[in-house]
Symmetry: none
Amino acid sequence: MNILEKITNELDMLSKSERKVAEVILASPNTVIHSSIAALAKQANISEPTVNRFCRRLDTKGYPDFKLHLAQSLANGTPYVNRHVDENDSADEYTSKIFESSMASLELARKSLDANDINRCVDVLTQANKISFFGLGASAIVAHDAQNKFFRFNVPVVYFDDILMQRMSAINSRQGDVVVVISHTGRTKSLVEVASLAKENDATVIGITTTGTPLAKECSIVLSVDVSEDTDLYMPMSSRIAQLALIDVLATGFTLRRGSKFRDNLKKVKDSLRSSRFERKD
Amino acid sequence: MNILEKITNELDMLSKSERKVAEVILASPNTVIHSSIAALAKQANISEPTVNRFCRRLDTKGYPDFKLHLAQSLANGTPYVNRHVDENDSADEYTSKIFESSMASLELARKSLDANDINRCVDVLTQANKISFFGLGASAIVAHDAQNKFFRFNVPVVYFDDILMQRMSAINSRQGDVVVVISHTGRTKSLVEVASLAKENDATVIGITTTGTPLAKECSIVLSVDVSEDTDLYMPMSSRIAQLALIDVLATGFTLRRGSKFRDNLKKVKDSLRSSRFERKD
DNA sequence: AGAAAAAATGAAATTTTATTTCATAAAATA
DNA sequence: TATTTTATGAAATAAAATTTCATTTTTTCT
């Protein structure tokens, strides 16, 4: 736990002198991490042993250890928070906010993912006869990206961002096929139907969506990607970034599962692109 | 700067003994922050003054100060440097690594971006007669996403991930048109040519690429998205995630610049999608 | 209220830890 | 190969943190 919060919480468990220490620390923690125990004691008008006792009361080993904890708390007070863009923000401000929100979403999404589910998906994907990725709107680009990635693995893979094609493809699916349905809201009717159709036709349906949505209920395996609401500017933002990171995870799991020979092959694919590029001169 | 990265970077500036210290630290930084200078010296098989000199070479005041920096580097939010996926990683491990690397890329990318350039791009985009987004491979999906976003703004926007269509479109561009060319490497021949063609035809060319690449040289405005190299085979392209965040930034800048009436309109677009969704019951 | 017990506090002593000094060894340069 | 530069560690010193213990303050109990 953040030691600054802890100090605040336990403020009334402390003795009078110890509280003086706490106040000095809370007032300017950044100074404290560069102070010796003597300097801090003087600052708070108490003795050095008191500072030491204060540190121990907060379950640290002593003053140096306490400073370590404090430094860590200050490193990233509250790491990445979702900050909403405001009408009067400067370019610099909204840029920072958007990047930080994206990072916050990645952190959140990471927490909502379950390693076991990922493992199962990788199992299923490595054994698939055919893999299809479906998405609409912002999630369409995630499906598109997935196709790009899996195409390199030399497995039959398609992606559709068209309702009719998705339906047809789902109806034609069969046992051994894997259908990956991507939707942040998990409430897009046609996608939920597509998932259900694919399942009826014995395909394994993987859902990349938010926990507990109608889509999640239709899937064989659900990869939960929960991010804070994309309410900001009326368009999806961070959800698709988290979904893309998940695609990376699946693709990575895939290559790892397939073993080293497979990876040599991948390298060849990569090298084959070289001639289309200008050489680097460094 | 993250002191772990710094150690890695300056590894070859260090003397033989100092390097031993560096290696011990990189191997288990979490142990080191709880070690005394004597313990660390013993661990690295060198003397205490050497540890001290090592600390000073990294621009810290001494060993305790160094530990403070190290503790901050290890605090959560600041991803660990060497987060490459390893052959024997468990699902949980590679998932964490990938998410953390993506976050690191976002942070890096934000630092490389210049608010003035973003402002200029937003200017240009809001005044464009027509906007085209071009990308290939992984960057194609970024172009795709950009089209999705800008389409909602009710401005003429196209995206192409096909070399020929890109060329034709570039040749047909004219003054007042904006062409956004997206490429992480900035060395894809056909894209560099497309940028140059568009420029010859008086379009404003915005490049979303790495600083100092051939593509960057052809552009009217360059938005630098520098991320750590995607050299590793299993390491996914975090570049595209950073590029997407930048698209969000541009789209946000666009809506802010266009004012509140414009945003009301956007809300209508969003509401129009409602009927295609299952209602939320909460 | 007042005595006894408990808790808090700081001065001084001690211990631990970090830093400096300096002599020697290793490496680079001429 | 001789000379200079740089790197290194042993020992001394300095700094910082911790412990001990006597004193003060607070609390509890009669």
